[in-house]
């Protein structure tokens, strides 16, 4: 398929259809609403189901029913709405059901505001609902990645029979870029034996419920599942990391300015690099092995508290100083990122 100009949210929606998603239930909230609007007419064209649900809670629980019945199912939200999705995500995880849930992040706690933000990192990566689970989290940094990761999300969700989250943000969702939508694939709702379809033999009826009710080896099963994700699903991009003395760590919208800061820094002779996590969970700890010369790490993220700092400290075994370059309301300026990185590196070198 040729490249076309598309809005990030719409590219994500179209790519979901390309991946065989034929069920969507969602609720309007800025800045994800274009996904819902797009699918409200486009789903009809591909013979799928679109439901504008009465709430985020209803939407995600409709997705649970669709997923249990074997469909590739999607729901999307943002900030306050994503919080409401957590009930369903916890149930999906507990019941071994695949589904894709998108959070087009916006600013702040509570109502916050509708501009881009990255304040949902903790909620996204720690298992935002109750219980003993977490989810694979994919973080697109361009319209193309919005499309590619949407398609990948469905495959991973089924590989692990687990919900997969996409951590997009208002900027990535709203920007228009050239994108190639992945090839359309068919999904067979009878592909998996675990889905509910009705049973001729009552003794073999399917029970979609907390897996541990029936699995005496649940502890091992659950531990192994996350160990496998951590072994097989780390995804990242490294830019100029090998000889870098200061390594930026950024994903999504802020990684675009961080990339620019690295280019500017390299031109000015600063040994600076960037690790861009594409999976926020599993956090790409492997990427940090490449940073052999690193003296310090700096996260660049659109929140105040530096939510990703802890993960960088864990990935580096606490061996190097880590600080955050945080911002809300305004996108971080690449000049400011570079200046802050240089200052931090100098401070570390001087042993202050």
């Amino acid at each position: 398929m040729a490249k076309v100009l598309m809005k990030g949210n719409e590219a994500l929606a179209e790519a979901a259809l390309a991946a065989g998603c034929r069920f969507y239930a969602g609720y309007p909230i800025t800045p994800q609403t274009e996904i819902l609007e797009y699918l409200s007419w486009r789903m009809d064209e591909v013979g799928g189901v679109f439901i504008q649900a009465e709430s985020e809670l209803a939407g995600v629980n409709m997705v649970m029913g669709a997923s249990a019945a074997g469909a590739r199912a999607l729901t999307t939200s943002a900030g306050p709405g994503f919080t409401l999705k957590q009930e369903g995500i916890s149930y999906l995880a507990a019941s071994d059901l695949p589904a894709v849930i998108v959070d087009v992040m916006r600013i702040g706690s509570g109502l916050g505001d509708i501009a881009q933000g990255q304040g949902d990192y903790w909620q996204l990566t720690r298992g935002g609902g109750h219980g003993d689970y977490r989810t694979i989290v994919l973080a697109p940094a361009s319209v193309q990645e919005n499309a590619d990761l949407a398609a990948l999300a469905f495959d991973l969700a089924e590989k692990y029979r687990h919900p997969v989250l996409i951590a997009s943000d208002a900027a990535i969702g709203q920007m228009i870029e050239a994108v190639e939508i992945p090839e359309f694939r068919e999904h067979d709702i009878n592909k998996y034996d675990w889905s509910i379809k009705g049973c001729k033999d009552g003794d073999k009826h399917k029970k979609i419920q907390n897996v541990y009710y029936d699995d005496p080896n649940y502890e091992t099963y659950l531990s192994d599942k996350y160990a496998q994700m951590e072994a097989e699903e780390q995804r990242y991009e490294s830019i100029d990391v090998e000889d870098a003395e200061i390594v930026l760590v950024a994903y999504g919208v802020s990684s675009r300015m961080a990339t620019e800061a690295v280019e500017m820094g390299r031109e000015a002779g600063v040994k600076i690099g960037l690790i861009r996590p594409i999976t926020l969970y599993p956090f790409p700890v492997n990427a940090f092995e490449e940073a052999k010369e690193a003296k310090a790490f700096m996260t660049v993220e659109m929140n105040i508290l530096g939510q990703m700092v802890d993960d960088v400290k864990l990935a580096t075994g606490g061996s190097k100083p880590v600080k955050k370059f945080g911002s809300i309301f305004a996108l971080p300026e690449s000049e400011d990122i570079l200046a802050s990185a240089k200052e931090f590196l100098d401070t570390v070198k001087e042993g202050k």
Binding site: A58, G65, A69, G202, H205, Q209
Partner: protein
């Protein structure tokens, strides 16, 4: 005497208390499935709490849902598998409190699912708290001196609430004596027949006894349905509509 139960009812211990109405309700559902030849096809969602115990009592493909979301989950399954009968089974706390939005909106949309709501006038699994269906003056663990309608409202009546909507079928039965249980079965059967005909939302409320939380002998708890609940929750069929089929182009 030879006991005969529908094939899809299991003989394992159910977890339901003696005298509970859920067992009767599921026997009726299983009988209806057998009679309509739908046993192989039924997809069921059961709400958490007492309803969820049914997952071990009947042998259908079943989803145990989040509290109050059983109807939403059933809609998701039905849309994916439109040929299958899909039934959401829930209690009055799920349907009329935490899942009220789902209950109202499924009526508004007239979704093509069967909903069976068991109304026992309290929260059973959590130990007998007040529900939106609790009767005026009824003592529960969270209305120690009796429910005060001035503060908590009158018992919620789904028949009134759905008056503004045209849904496929709406009936209320009572699991309190043989005649009423047979009638309740006929409502369930009709609901599934109309459901398979694509008539939209087919909703049956079943008044049911909860002897444990009412601190009553089972027989007394059943008598209470007729004597105390029915005045607030009249029995019968209230809506019976056919969906106009879209003309084939």
């Amino acid at each position: 005497m030879k006991l005969k139960a529908p094939e899809r009812v299991t003989w394992t211990q159910s977890g339901f208390c003696p005298g509970c109405g859920h067992g009767i309700a599921f026997r009726l559902i299983a009988e209806v499935m057998e009679e309509l030849g739908l046993s192989d096809k039924l997809l069921l969602t059961v709400d958490v709490a007492c309803c969820s115990l049914a997952i071990e009592c009947v042998k259908y493909d079943t989803i145990m849902c989040a509290h109050g979301r059983g109807v939403a989950t059933a809609i998701g399954a039905k849309k994916v598998r439109p040929e299958n009968p899909v039934c959401a089974y829930l209690g009055d706390g799920a349907a009329y409190s935490i899942g009220m939005a789902e209950t109202i909106h499924t009526g508004l949309r007239n979704d093509n699912v069967v909903v069976i709501t068991v109304n026992n006038s309290l929260y059973g699994m959590t130990g007998g708290q007040m529900a939106p269906t609790t009767l005026p003056g009824q003592k529960t663990t969270s209305s120690k001196y009796g429910k005060d309608p001035e503060r908590c409202g009158m018992p919620f009546n789904i028949v009134d609430a759905y008056q503004g909507f045209k849904i496929g079928y709406l009936a209320r039965g009572a699991l309190c004596d043989v005649a009423n249980i047979n009638k309740a079965k006929s409502y369930i059967k009709k609901a599934f027949e109309k459901h398979m005909n694509g008539d939209g939302l087919c909703y049956v409320e079943l008044l049911s006894a909860c002897p444990t939380n009412l601190n009553m002998q089972p027989v007394k708890a059943m008598q209470r349905i007729k004597e105390e609940m029915v005045p607030y929750f009249p029995l019968g069929e209230f809506q019976d509509n056919t969906k106009e089929k879209k003309e084939e182009e």
